[in-house]
């Protein structure tokens, strides 16, 4: 009863803001230099996450595969940047077709210029919004590479990534964030990409790991990280860049951005602590890999919620996210026996699912009047809406990724040969080594 009253009280300012928003939108959109500077810098921060991810993953593989692993993330920056300008952006954010995809009217960014697009962000140039969204498309594709590290053939990887970004990421971004997208119309809350970025990449990673099969010797030979300081540096860069990811998703330098900034840091910190303590109790030792993994799990979990929840809720989302992800990678993965090399699924798929559902629990219009209340703020329906978003993302990502892999395998071999894999991918596939032994 009390929760319902709180919910009703929160609705009043929402209605007021909605009406004032309509009146305001009638004015010609005007660029705000503060917002523009903020969003452009945030885009640069998000870009930095992908080289950070390259280090995060690169440190966790064996030394013979470090360059091929770093290559996955790095070359995706180049590949998706070009795809996005040519046709990716218009598919994801172009004028709506059937609530499923953008049409091709912004092909090659024609018509996307310095003037704002009020459908997305009324106070910054449309190009700034496009650039910010590009960085999300890049990191999402790169996240998947954690699942197939140490065994994917490079040519197949390139074709897979291009197809995946085009027919998995671009439509999903349209559904959740595009004007007219059906999940957005349904009221699914995803502030910075729990479904679009983390569930999509994590689940696709799991499917790729299953289709490719386990690495040779998996479960019999030790496959231990070769350079954990890389991984920690990478986690640090991810943490840093994530402020751009979440706070920047406010698309303005305002209070909502500040809230997203604070809850992002809080959840990362809480999850680092909870993962560390859980493994300490479960395995007897607190590890730096655990602390770094926990911080990333917390960042993933808070991502969809970051524009809708309070810092106190972020503590809970982070604490629970760290524990869930720890058990996903240490217990569930071993029980089910799949080889998700660097736990893209365990951290991003599971963490993203938790975050998307947690948004349906902890969201409050007191933080963001344009959002909605969650279960704990008197609106159980939001949890159901979030659940629909989660199930849809899982199903779409899994099925389409599977189809893409099968199609690519008709044209080229997906997996490295046994000789290449045993030698490590760096030398046979790229002709270079990370570490020279005699010089």
């Amino acid at each position: 009863m009390r929760k319902k009253m709180i919910g009703a009280c929160c609705l009043l300012p929402l209605m007021w803001l909605a009406s004032s928003g309509i009146a305001w939108a009638a004015d010609a959109p005007k660029i705000d230099s503060g917002d523009t500077a903020f969003v452009l810098l945030c885009a640069a921060l998000v870009l930095l996450m992908t080289p950070g991810l390259a280090l995060f993953y690169g440190g966790m593989v064996r030394r013979k595969n470090v360059l091929s692993t770093i290559m996955h993330s790095f070359i995706i920056i180049a590949l998706v940047s070009v795809q996005w300008v040519l046709f990716g952006y218009t598919l994801a954010f172009g004028p709506d077709k059937l609530h499923l995809i953008g049409n091709l009217s912004w092909l090659g960014l024609i018509g996307v210029g310095g003037a704002p697009n009020p459908d997305y962000a009324a106070t910054i140039p449309h190009l700034a919004y496009m650039a910010f969204q590009l960085m999300f498309a890049i990191i999402t594709a790169a996240l998947i590479s954690g699942s197939f590290a140490e065994r994917f053939r490079f040519p197949a990887f390139l074709i897979f990534t291009l197809l995946w970004t085009t027919i998995v990421y671009d439509p999903m971004a349209h559904w959740v964030w595009g004007a007219g997208g059906w999940l957005r119309n349904l009221g699914v809350l995803d502030f910075a990409g729990g479904t679009v970025v983390h569930i999509s990449s994590g689940v696709s990673g799991l499917v790729t790991a299953l289709v490719l099969g386990k690495r040779l010797g998996y479960g019999r030979e030790p496959m231990v990280p070769h350079h954990l300081p890389f991984t920690v540096l990478g986690a640090g860069l991810l943490w840093f860049g994530w402020f751009g990811f979440n706070a920047g998703s406010a698309l303005a330098a305002n209070g909502l951005a500040a809230n997203a900034f604070v809850v992002t840091n809080t959840a990362a910190a809480a999850a680092a602590l909870s993962w560390l303590c859980t493994e300490w109790i479960h395995n007897g030792k607190p590890t730096i890999l655990g602390a770094a993994s926990g911080c990333v799990a917390g960042l993933v979990a808070i991502t969809p919620a970051s524009g809708f929840v309070t810092p106190l809720s972020a503590v809970l989302i982070g604490l629970i996210g760290g524990i869930i992800c720890y058990f996903a990678v240490s217990v569930v993965k071993a029980k089910l026996g799949y080889d998700d090399s660097l736990d893209a699924f365990g951290v991003h798929g599971i963490g993203g699912t938790w975050g998307a559902l947690a948004t349906g629990l902890f969201a409050t219009t007191a933080v963001n009047p344009a959002g909605a209340n969650g279960l704990f703020f008197g609106n159980p329906g939001q949890l159901w809406t979030q659940f629909i978003g989660v199930i849809t993302s899982w199903a779409f990502a899994a099925i389409v990724t599977f189809i893409i892999l099968k199609v690519v395998s008709l044209f080229t071999r997906l997996r490295a040969s046994d000789e290449e894999e045993l030698a490590g991918l760096d030398l046979p596939m790229h002709g270079e080594r990370a570490y020279d032994y005699i010089s």
């Binding site: 030790p222 231990v224 990280p225 493994e279």
Partner: protein, 113 residues
């Protein structure tokens, strides 16, 4: 002439080098090596997944001495490298046919030091 090849605990390297230095032989070759033996491996846990590491890190020292000083050198190394626990390492002795100092072309015992 005899080549002494000993595999020791990494933390005992300084002690063994000091001991051989007191004995008056400054020349040796040191390598970082991996190996297995009675000591067995150990477990490492990454993200909750246990891995058994079978190969342990050791230090290998190779030093060539005159035949009359072999026993003394071996004793010095044993004293310096011993902890009494499993894993202290091993010493191997090999006869050396000849030694050549590359700079001068000297051969035999005078080329050792």
């Amino acid at each position: 002439m005899t080549k002494i090849e000993c595999v020791i605990r990494p933390e005992k390297l300084d002690a063994v080098m000091d001991a051989l230095g007191q004995f008056g032989n400054p020349g040796m070759t040191v390598s970082e090596v991996k190996g297995c033996g009675l000591q067995r491996g150990w477990k490492e846990v990454y993200r909750g997944v246990e891995s058994t590491i079978k190969l342990l890190s050791k230090i290998k020292i190779e030093v060539v001495v005159k035949d009359e000083t072999v026993d003394q050198a071996v004793q010095l190394i044993c004293r310096a490298a011993r902890t009494g626990e499993v894993g202290d390492g091993k010493i191997f002795l090999y006869p050396v046919a000849d030694v050549v100092r590359i700079r001068t072309g000297e051969t035999g015992e005078s080329a050792i030091y």
